[in-house]
């Protein structure tokens, strides 16, 4: 029993929390991939930007972290739209690898700008320790974890509603399916692209703020989670938002479960290899099912 509670407290719950944050990041990444056809390396820095906007708002107003989300999202969206206009749109007609390289340049620029504006120090959104609710005398539930998972779920539901029940969401899915046919159907692709950036930026900002809420923030936090987020997006099948949600959860939970003492007393996988777990899963999956868990687009 104790063993089970320990497993839930220290492996499963942290895994789910981390997984929801990865999932939010991965949805944004996979949407931009599906519609713009390139892996956006600046996505991690977009998350960092959102977190720092939240920090500014908290410094000014002392509001609860979740109340800063709208501001973080708004500013992140504006920044991303300006960047699209300046750096991605002029390259849109060319090969997509150019966009990928441009996103790499943008990653350098964004991180430098964040370091110039906010410095390189570690910051926190919620100082002090979180106190858990203890249920059944041993199950520890943190209110902040409930808020994080709840906010992530709400946002995912929002994405679901957007994609399933709004015309622009359907157009996004259509364009992700086949950009050529979308153009021949008369969809104004620039509007869809804009909607994609907005959705991706909203989710990235949320992921950044929630990650900072759970731990702390600094100028390199986004890049730190970029690789697991890529793995999550790929695991779900690139261009598949629902796949990305599942992929994020799988990667987050797997990372935390890998260090559980499944056999004997020591951790199953040396914690030094923890960040390799995401990739190992991904590669195993690629061999078994090359288009991802949810049949992503194979080019």
């Amino acid at each position: 029993m104790n063993e089970l509670i320990g497993f839930v407290n220290f492996h499963l719950i942290p895994g789910i929390v981390l997984g929801s944050i990865y999932a939010l990041g991965a949805i944004g990444l996979t949407l931009t991939f599906g519609i713009l056809r390139f892996a956006n390396f600046a996505h991690g820095e977009t998350m960092t930007l959102g977190a720092f906007v939240a920090l500014v708002v908290i410094d000014l107003t002392n509001w609860h972290v979740l109340a800063t989300l709208p501001f973080a999202m708004l500013l992140t969206v504006l920044t991303v739209l300006v960047m699209d206009r300046l750096f991605f749109r002029p390259l849109r007609t060319g090969p997509t690898v150019i966009l990928l390289i441009a996103s790499f340049g943008l990653m350098l620029m964004m991180r430098s700008a964040i370091q110039i504006i906010w410095g390189v120090d570690l910051e926190t959104l919620s100082k002090g320790l979180a106190i858990p609710w203890v249920l059944f005398e041993s199950l520890r539930i943190f209110p902040k974890h409930l808020l994080i998972v709840g906010a992530a779920l709400l946002l995912m539901l929002g994405v679901h509603g957007l994609l399933r029940h709004t015309p622009i969401g359907k157009a996004m899915r259509a364009m992700s399916d086949s950009p050529e046919l979308a153009r021949m159907t008369g969809i104004d692709t620039e509007r869809v692209v804009m909607a994609t950036w907005i959705t991706g930026a909203v989710l990235a900002a949320a992921a950044g703020v929630l990650l900072a809420y759970d731990t702390h923030l600094d100028s390199r936090m986004g890049f730190r989670v970029l690789l697991p987020i890529f793995a999550a997006a790929l695991l779900g099948g690139l261009g598949r938002p629902y796949g990305a949600m599942a992929g994020g959860l799988v990667i987050g939970v797997a990372e935390e479960l890998s260090t559980y003492s499944w056999i004997g007393d020591g951790p199953l996988v040396s914690p030094g290899y923890k960040s390799g777990v995401a990739f190992a899963i991904m590669i195993a999956l690629l061999i078994w099912r090359p288009s991802g868990l949810f049949r992503g687009r194979v080019f």
Binding site: F38, G105, L108, S112, G272, F279, L286
Partner: protein
């Protein structure tokens, strides 16, 4: 010391490093430029080459594998073979994946390789890295030692360039181009597409291993930080795309241009006014990123475009 002489020495260093990067870029050019394979795991092959040559060439230290003290003619081919073997294994797993999937899969494999180098102390001395790697010609008096190293790198580069140009014009190169441009047609013409792809991937991987080995000998020290994707994989991609992919001259040009930009930008940013001084290092990367954007927008096909050996 005379400042012109100092700049001369720096120029030698700049060219040597540019040359080492050019080897890496040419390796990528075989994979991407000729064959269309999106390898985002350059750092992994680079690191395998660097560590292999270090293990072959250093004196025995008890801290890591090897200590064979063998000279350059053994360490460079050894590095190439080790990287080629790893590339072959990766290709065997991943070659059927297309573009972006291959990219992220190779990125993941490179990260796993980096973790292995970091965690398997018995073989690599882990995070503390391998030091005292012999540098060719280091016993010559300055500046001849540095000039000799540069000449060695340039000679390797010249040989590679001539071989690759020949291969590109040969039937092998034309098949590669055909596979990149229209796989179905190449398949229909009875070509073993998978086989050719694996060949290109392995060959490119071997060159990346060679680049890693040269870097290890040049810097005389390696640790797992040198396999970080940012400082190796991405910069090599930027070099190829800026220079012009599919074109060996473009690969060479891109390597020297981007490396010069990357390195010399610091000389400029350290001269910023005092209030900017501490932030100048961050500003430097902002400007490098901006310069990259400007070049991409002005030359979206690379500064030197691809020249087809045959074509209407």
């Amino acid at each position: 010391m005379d400042s012109l002489y100092g700049i001369f020495l720096y120029a030698i260093y700049l060219l040597t490093m540019g040359g080492i990067y050019a080897v890496l870029v040419m390796g990528l050019n075989i994979q991407w430029g000729f064959t269309g394979l999106f390898n985002a795991g350059i750092a992994g092959f680079f690191a395998v080459g660097a560590y292999t040559s270090a293990i072959i060439s250093t004196a025995s230290s008890g801290r890591h594998l090897g200590g064979l003290s063998l000279p350059l003619w053994a360490s460079l081919p050894g590095a190439m073979i080790a990287s080629a073997l790893i590339a072959w294994a990766v290709a065997w797993i991943c070659i059927r994946l297309r573009s972006d999937y291959l990219a992220i899969a190779t990125l993941g494999i490179a990260e796993i390789l980096r973790l292995v180098l970091k965690n398997e102390d018995w073989a690599t001395n882990g995070a503390r890295g391998i030091s005292r790697i012999p540098k060719p010609f280091e016993d010559l008096p300055e500046p001849w030692n540095q000039i000799a190293m540069l000449l060695l790198v340039l000679a390797i580069l010249l040989v590679l360039y001539l071989l690759l140009e020949r291969a590109r014009r040969a039937p092998w190169g034309r098949v590669m181009t055909a596979i990149r441009e229209n796989e179905a047609a190449a398949r229909a013409a009875g070509k073993n597409v998978e086989g050719f792809r694996i060949e290109a991937f392995v060959l490119g991987g071997a060159l990346m291993g060679l680049g890693g080995a040269l870097m290890a000998h040049h810097v005389k020290f390696i640790d797992p930080n040198m396999a970080e994707p940012l400082s190796t994989t991405f910069i090599v991609w930027v070099m190829l795309i800026i220079g012009g992919s599919g074109n060996n001259k473009g690969a060479l040009f891109g390597a020297f241009l981007v490396w010069t930009l990357w390195s010399t930008s610091e000389i400029v940013t350290t001269r910023l006014p005092a209030e900017w001084e501490l932030k100048s290092a961050y500003l430097r990367f902002f400007l490098v990123g901006l310069a990259l954007q400007i070049i991409l927008q002005r030359y979206p096909a690379g500064i030197l475009k691809e020249h087809r050996p045959i074509g209407k």
